[in-house]
């Protein structure tokens, strides 16, 4: 009823339109018309008058508080223009339908389901959005790794079962490592048959989820499965939510770049592997860069493996690009790409003895432009019909047109030649490389093009070729090497060609330019050298000339500073330097080793030991005379007395304003100061000019209007331009600058300056990777490659704030090994717990407090402060252990401090015993072993057990280690004297990365590190030898027999009667005997008693009967009354009905009449 009332619309008041009241109102309105529009405050200012300063202050403060609470420190938005695919992790315990959800999502977005999904799948879902979906297997290692990288976690839960531990563990992991967006998905809802239970389950699960994530977090219900798929509508909704989701930047990911590897290749020479299958491998990993730009110099950490140096990194064309034009409304079928190399889509799948290539059809995409050398080379490799040996014999290489072709026989030292070439180009002879490069590229692509054509011919067919063919062929050792070398060089050239082409614009020919450059560089070096030799001489003139020359001739300052501007090239250069092969003779008649090398070395030698000073020249070098007129001109405008910039010059600005005003007037006037006459008529004569003027004027007016608006807005709301707003604005500006500043740079230079920006698809090469990484590779384990910032690859003592998780059943013991997930890393280490005392001393703790945070020190990787971490006691997914463990996350916390030393102190009490006691002096023995030790502790405070304080004075000679001490009072010989000191405890330097990726697939979730002593003892069935002293034994105390109390007779006599010792019978005894009197009745008495008993019984029976009868009677009466009542009601109802009926009839008839 209440709800209906709320919705029922009340009849509104009807205004009078005529009559007295209406007239009255009309006049009132007419009078008050202007006031009507005012606000209450304006109409009645007195009511709002200021009457309490304190209240006003409070009001103001409250407002400020509320305002300030809303503010967050503005972060610079570092997201790139074309972001990487959004990473969606599908997480949940086993058998909740993760794979089904992924399958359905892929089907939703691409219309073509994938059969066998392994590892990440990247798909284009919209015009501006791509997603990478990855399934998280039921391993806490994977959960940790994915929580660190995913943007969105789909948390699946079996509703028929309820939340499982894994869900909460994952949520906790997320909280620690920066919360990604989390969406809950309830599955198996069709298992709950009862609709009411379904409703309540949904509700309880939802609320539990909300408390864990945030109130109002999205929770999806997938209500059932039809033909092995979820309902289409529900999946569609889920997909829609995913594709419009927005993400907050997370601190860790704002400072680190990371990659989720979606493909890997083993680049090791097959021959080496054949010789030694366990040899270290050279691999390349592929993936989209996420987070912030990645630099080549960064070290990276592969989660579950360890730290690595990037050997080489290059960007590849996007395998799953966004559609180019955004004109269309929706994606065309062709643009709905899928890229999942591990699942065999859009890449190459390696099997034991064959290579499967998915051909470019509607699903996958293999770009056919020349950018993708790698893929070309692979297709090339796959397409080979002849053996490599045969091909090799037929290879021909033409470097210059009209040059003789180099065949395999020249090719014997191909790699050698490569390096030599690089050697020769080291001296800035890029053109040779470039020329040759172009031609060589052609050679490669000749093959490739054919291959690709044939590929496209037999589309949809899976090319299957025996790799063994290639393997078994008597392959030359360097074949593989050459291939990779060619590839490398090609990528080099590819990268290089762009800037050089740019250079071409500015200079006539490349060669000229290059030569010039190198010349100037040499000159420059000469200058430097000269300066070095005669550093303190007057060389300003010369140096200045050099400077001017440098500036005028140099086209590219970067080249001057950084040398040849290509990192890969430099690397090659370094390699050749290292090898230092002495092949200076000509090779093939083309490449000459230039002796500039020597020259350069000499220069280097000279420069090597110069004095370093930030000054351009020493102070006492003589500069030119700046007071001379010609020099004066050069710097005249550097001073405020000189000419200002137009935008800053006050007179210019004034003039601008004036013209503006004048143009407004647009008439004749005379400048009184200068006497110049301005006439409007003159202006009008020049008609064409006028048009321009008009346009200018309009532009100016527009500009002015904008300025005015800006000023107005600034002036009117002064509180807007607060400190916070300023911060926000600078952050925005910075973000804008970050996005735009390198826009016009070619990509290959840009990656040098900026790094490989997020959204790029890159290929990273690593060397010296253990073979287990390849042999035990399992695509279902996420391959997280996280970059390490400066200093993070180092190791040191980490001081963290730690708290045992309240769901973890045990407290943690100091120096028991823990597995910690911190930053990108997972590692085992040995922490020592401590408590920071008020005097900033870290006091050693044996166990973590049960409900308090404490500090822990461990030896581990240096990670920035306030980074979160979590600790586990084991990552073993052994079901038996799991069952025992319950919640696996033992503790959480954050980094506080990093250092190279630790200062954890353990309390230590030295105990001694008095030897001899004088008045307040005593000799104490047993505390120290030698006089030297005593000397170290002279003046230390000591204390007895009874609390008498004292001081150590001096060592005594007789028993070694005995000393004299003074106390505030005389101590007892039975006292124990102790001295409180602190003992430094060292943190063990144990750091062991958890290498789950290297374990064989079936043992990946069974990584084991160091065991605790307890575990070792349990395993070996050892027991601690018990200290007999510590055992508890029942204390047998002898009863002490006291002497009987004897009151002297004399005293007894004097005592009052009451206190006199009582020698007679005790009163209680008397009572007892009185109570227990047996009653033996006479025969008559017995008869009477029996009689009375019988009467009593019959009476009771009668009473009970009576009661029962009354009850029945009452019941009967009640029924009668209620029946009467009911009949009465019925009658009343009937009567009412009749009345209302007649009433309504009457009304209807009345209305009808009225209508008529």
């Amino acid at each position: 009823m209440g709800e209906e009332d709320a919705f029922e619309k009340k009849k509104s008041h009807r205004d009078r339109h005529s009559g007295r009241k209406a007239d009255k109102k009309k006049t009132k309105k007419a009078n008050l018309n202007p006031v009507e529009e005012l606000t209450a405050k304006q109409r009645n200012p007195k009511a709002f008058a200021f009457n309490s300063a304190i209240r006003a202050e409070r009001k103001f403060r409250r407002k400020q508080d509320i305002d300030t609470k809303k503010q967050h420190i503005p972060l610079v938005d570092r997201s790139p223009i074309e972001p990487p695919p959004i990473l969606i992790a599908v997480v949940g315990p086993p058998k909740v339908g993760k794979t089904t959800v992924i399958n359905n999502l892929i089907k939703l977005f691409t219309k073509s389901p994938l059969s066998d999904i392994k590892g990440p799948v990247t798909i284009v879902t919209g015009k501006k959005r791509r997603i990478t979906i990855v399934e998280c297997n039921n391993d806490i290692n994977s959960m940790i790794d994915l929580a660190k990288v995913c943007d969105l976690a789909l948390l699946l839960c079996d509703a028929s079962f309820g939340f499982e531990m894994e869900v909460f563990e994952f949520l906790n992991i997320c909280q620690v490592h920066g919360m990604p967006r989390i969406m809950g998905v309830l599955t198996h809802l069709d298992m709950i048959k009862n609709s009411k239970t379904l409703k309540t389950t949904k509700k309880t699960l939802k609320h539990r989820f909300w408390t864990e994530v945030y109130p109002g977090a999205k929770l999806f219900y997938l209500s059932g499965i039809i033909h092995g798929e979820y309902l289409r509508n529900e999946i569609k909704n889920l997909g829609r939510f995913i594709s419009v989701m927005k993400f907050r930047p997370l601190l860790w990911r704002q400072n680190h770049s990371y990659i989720l590897g979606d493909r890997y290749e083993d680049l090791t020479n097959q021959e080496l592997i054949r010789q030694n299958p366990k040899c270290d491998r050279k691999i390349s990993l592929y993936g989209y860069i996420r987070g912030v730009p990645l630099k080549k110099e960064n070290s990276v950490h592969i989660a579950g493996f360890g730290d690595l140096k990037i050997q080489d990194i290059s960007y590849l064309p996007d395998p799953c690009p966004l559609p180019d034009a955004i004109k269309k409304r929706a994606l065309v079928e062709k643009e709905k790409l899928v890229y999942a190399p591990f699942s065999g889509v859009g890449g190459i799948v390696y099997d034991k003895d064959a290579v499967y290539v998915e051909m470019p059809n509607s699903q996958s995409q293999m770009k056919k432009n020349e950018d993708s050398e790698t893929s070309n080379i692979f297709t090339n490799l796959i397409e080979t019909k002849e053996t490599a040996d045969f091909k090799r014999e037929n290879w021909k290489l033409q470097i210059f047109t009209g040059d003789n072709k180099i065949t395999d026989f020249d090719n014997e030292d191909f790699s050698q030649l490569e390096q030599n070439k690089i050697d020769s180009t080291k001296n800035y002879k890029e053109e040779a490389v470039e020329d040759s490069g172009r031609i060589r590229r052609k050679v490669i692509f000749d093959n490739n093009d054919e291959a690709e054509i044939s590929d496209s011919d037999n589309e949809d067919s899976v090319v299957e070729q025996d790799n063994t063919e290639v393997k078994s062929a008597p392959k030359p050792k360097k074949d593989e090497d050459i291939q990779s070398k060619i590839k490398e060089v090609l990528t080099n050239l590819e990268n290089k060609s762009a800037p050089i082409e740019q250079d071409l614009d500015s200079s006539d020919s490349e060669e000229m330019e290059e030569d010039e450059d190198s010349d100037s560089e040499v000159e420059d070096n000469d200058n430097e050298e000269d300066m070095a030799v005669e550093w303190k001489q007057n060389l300003v003139k010369k140096a200045k000339d050099a400077f001017l020359e440098r500036i005028s001739t140099s086209q590219n300052l970067m080249k001057l500073v950084y040398g040849v501007f290509d990192a890969q090239y430099q690397k090659a250069q370094q390699e050749t330097q290292n090898e230092a092969s002495s092949d200076e003779e000509d090779i093939g008649g083309i490449f000459k080793k230039v002796s500039k090398d020597q020259q350069k070395k000499k220069l280097e030698k000279d420069n090597m030991n110069l004095t370093e000073s930030p000054l351009m020249f020493p102070w006492n070098t003589v500069t030119k005379d700046w007071t001379e007129e010609e020099n004066k001109v050069l710097i005249a405008n550097c001073f405020v007395t000189g000419k200002w910039k137009d935008s800053e010059d006050a007179s210019e600005l004034l003039k601008l304003d004036d013209t503006q005003n004048l143009s407004d007037v647009d008439g004749d006037f005379e400048d009184l100061e200068t006497g110049i006459k301005h006439e409007a008529g003159q202006k009008r004569k020049r008609e064409d000019d006028e048009k321009d003027d008009k346009a200018d004027k309009e532009a100016l007016a527009e500009k002015k209007r904008k300025l005015k608006e800006k000023f107005d807005s600034e002036y009117d709301n002064t509180d807007k331009s607060s400190y916070y707003d300023e911060l926000k604005m600078t952050a925005e500006k910075q973000a804008q600058l970050n996005k735009t500043v390198f826009d016009n740079m070619p990509d290959d230079v840009r990656v040098q300056v900026e790094g490989f920006r997020p959204g790029m698809y890159v290929r990273i090469e690593f060397e010296d990777v253990p073979s287990e990484f390849i042999t035990n590779f399992d695509p279902t384990y996420p391959l997280v490659i996280g970059s390490l910032n400066m200093g993070e690859e180092n190791i040191g003592y980490v001081n963290v704030k730690i708290k045992k998780h309240r769901w973890y059943s045990k407290i943690l013991k100091t120096s028991d090994p823990l597995i910690i997930s911190l930053g990108w890393r997972r590692f085992q280490t040995i922490p020592l717990y401590s408590k920071l005392e008020d005097d900033l001393k870290s006091r050693y703790l044996k166990y973590t407090p049960e409900h308090l945070a404490c500090n822990a020190h461990f030896w581990g990787p240096i990670t920035p402060q306030s980074t979160g971490f979590l600790a586990l006691q084991s990552v073993d997914s052994n079901p038996e252990i799991l069952k025992k463990q319950g919640f696996r996350i033992a503790a959480t916390g954050s980094v506080q401090e990093l250092d190279k030393t630790t200062q954890i102190m353990k309390k230590l009490k030295l105990i001694g015993y008095p030897l001899k006691i004088y008045k307040k002096t005593a000799f104490i023995k047993g505390m120290f072993n030698s006089a030297l030790e005593v000397a170290k502790f002279e003046g230390a405070r000591i204390k007895t057990v009874s609390g008498v304080r004292g001081q150590i004075k001096k060592a005594a000679s007789k028993p070694e280690g005995c000393f004299r001490a003074t106390f505030e009072d005389k101590i007892l010989l039975s006292d124990i004297v102790f001295c409180r000191t602190w003992y430094k405890v060292d943190v063990p330097e144990y750091y062991n990365p958890v290498t789950t990726l290297l374990l064989p697939p079936d043992q990946k979730n069974q990584w084991k590190g160091v065991r605790t002593t307890g575990e070792i003892k349990r395993d070996k069935n050892l027991r601690n030898p018990t200290n007999v002293d510590s055992l508890y034994t029942p204390i047998a105390r002898e009863e002490k027999p006291f002497k009987p109390l004897v009151v002297p007779a004399k005293l007894q006599k004097a005592l009052p009667y009451r206190d006199k010792p009582n020698h007679g019978v005790k009163s209680t005894d008397k009572k007892k005997s009185i109570d227990r009197v047996a009653v033996i009745r006479e025969p008559h008495e017995q008869k009477v008693a029996n009689m009375i008993k019988m009467i009593k019984a019959s009476y009771q029976h009668k009473q009970a009967k009576l009661k029962e009868e009354t009850k029945q009677r009452m019941e009967k009466h009640r029924q009668e009354v209620s029946a009467q009542e009911a009949s009465k009601d019925r009658k009343i109802k009937q009567k009412k009905k009749a009345v209302f009926r007649s009433k309504s009839k009457a009304q209807i008839s009345q209305e009808k009449k009225g209508n008529k």
Binding site: L557, L560, V640, L737
Partner: protein, 377 residues
Amino acid sequence: MTTATKKGNTLHYKGSNFLKQRLVLSVLSGKPVKITEIRTLDDEPGLKEYEVSLVRLLDKITNGTTVELNNSGTELYFQPGLLLGGTFEHECSCQRGIGYYLESLFMLGFFCKQPIKATLKGVTCNNIDPSVDCFKSSFMETLKRFVYDDEGLDLKISKRGMLPLGGGEVTFKCPIKTKLRPVQIVDSGMVKRIRGTAYALRVSPAMANRMVEKAKGVLLNFLPDVYISTDQCKGKQAGRSPGFGVHLYAETTQGVMYSSEQVSNNVSQGEDPSIPEDIGVAAAQRLLYHIFLGGVVDSSCQALLILNMALGPKDVSKAVTGPLTDYTIGLLRHLREFFGVTFKIEHFEQESQGAGMGKILLTCVGIGYSNISKRTI
């Protein structure tokens, strides 16, 4: 300049040039360096006294540093620890000025565990290093651009000391910061005032006035607002050796400070005694030269500027400088080797003529360096 060869994490260099840069960058990056062939062909091979003193200073402000020096001193292995800071005193070698040591403190100061309060003793001004006055004006101003709040950043010159014996003393205080800020400084402004200090130590105070007079004579050609104070040091404040000198700085409308310095010749080393008038004129001329070079920092502070730009957050920083000095170019190369930071270097188009030399625009993305020594609560 030799390029580094990397072996694992260690960077290998040859020669003693840029030793300070290499060690400072090593401390900042945590990468060990090995420097070989230090003056192997010289008459006095190996590290010089002043360089050893620098290594000592770096050892003082770090925790866990390992330094290995071979017998002849021609090979140095430096494994840096974490920056500690705190209060300490350092006796600088008189072969170089205090400026040589102070620069490294300016570069490292923000990233220590505790705020630095360093007392450096030695030669306050010489011919090859920026003097402490330069640090107080130009360097300090450069450093302040990179922090939001410069409270606690201070340099106090308590004693002045000239060659050969020194005896000067400065106190450098530096707060700790977690992060630097990115800068975009393109406008250097115009010189609005010129200030300076002339000092005469253990010589007639008239010397200072004579220098002031001549320096003003030159500078008044360009700007009316010139004021040069004289600093008369007495007793211990005047150090251990006689001499005089003048320090001038020009401040622009944008707060940029160009500074120049002149000191008298070291008579005890057999050089001709200098004339105060000449010193005054030379200082003024040198200041004009620095104004000519221009940029948003003084040419001597370029290194500090680019280092702090590179260490900034992962945002774009921009700055316009005059022609790069060799020292700066060295640092640019070293930054690339230690941090992988490459600067975009291009010519900067100026609007007006007669505003000094052609400028260079440096653009870089910072590495997001943060103070890993600081303790959080």
